[in-house]
């Protein structure tokens, strides 16, 4: 499975999201999931099972990718990220 964190420039916030998601997945012993970063302009060339982004950037998302997107308001609170991520993972793995 692949998770892609999307931000405006792909050097800052999405990298932070990636670090925290990798840390959560490592705690959950999910080594079958890869996490990448991409900037919003390159999203179509970065296929993913789950996208992670902010509310502001979600507004610019392609319609077909919206259903698989998690909108985070807090990129540094791992409990909050986990609360969004885990249900999405369960939904995909049903």
């Amino acid at each position: 499975m692949k998770i892609v964190a999307v931000c405006g420039l792909s050097v800052g916030s999405s990298v932070i999201a990636k670090m925290n998601i990798e840390s959560i997945l490592s705690e959950e012993k999910r080594d079958d999931i890869d996490v990448d970063t991409v900037d919003l302009g390159s999203i179509t060339s970065a296929p993913a099972d789950i996208y992670v982004t902010t509310r502001e950037l979600f507004e610019g998302f392609p319609d077909e990718d919206r259903d698989k997107t998690i909108v985070l308001t807090n990129f540094v609170d791992k409990n909050d990220i986990k609360a969004h991520l885990d249900p999405k993972l369960q939904e995909l793995e049903k």
Binding site: C7, G8, L9, S10, V11, G12, S13, V15, I16, M19, N20, L40, T54, R55, E56, L57, T73, N74, F75, V76, D77, K78
Partner: protein, 151 residues
């Protein structure tokens, strides 16, 4: 070299003053401009990216990550942190107002990662955020720098 990159107390400004978000980014970036690690152009790029892409750099309640793409305006990969005495609004629906600004400047897509990981680990702990927001003195800044660098 990247692995030995650390933040110093000189790069941590506590209870700084800014009246709006653009000024807040400028103030937070001052230690890096004054030590010639970034140019004024980088500060302009950080502000322009918010104007273009919106306040998405406000990545947590009260916390903005000022950054732009790696470019010639970055002379040395570096970070600075500023807390504000009075918070400012960035226009973020979820996370305004902002009283904590982290400036990230990198010479490449990877040069900043080791120190960014340390800063993220620090920010993950809500006790650290509380401590940082309360901090006032140079000694406080030293303690915070040590805590971040310690990983």
């Amino acid at each position: 070299m990247a692995n030995t990159l650390e933040i110093t107390p000189q790069e941590i400004q506590l209870k700084a003053t800014a009246t709006n978000w653009e000024e807040a980014i400028k103030v937070a970036a001052n230690p890096l401009v004054n030590s010639n690690r970034i140019t004024e152009d980088y500060v302009t790029s950080m502000i322009d990216s918010v104007k273009k892409l919106g306040p998405y750099i406000v990545i947590a309640p009260g916390l903005a990550l000022g950054h732009a793409r790696p470019s010639a305006a970055v002379k040395e990969t570096s970070f600075s942190i500023a807390t504000l005495r009075q918070p400012v609004k960035f226009g973020s629906k979820d996370n305004d107002p902002v009283d904590l600004i982290v400036i990230l400047a990198s010479t490449s897509d990877t040069a900043h990662l080791s120190l960014l990981q340390k800063i993220v680990t620090f920010l993950n702990d809500s006790n650290n955020l509380t401590e940082l927001r309360k901090a006032e003195t140079h000694d406080d800044a030293t303690q915070i720098a040590n805590k971040i660098n310690g990983g």
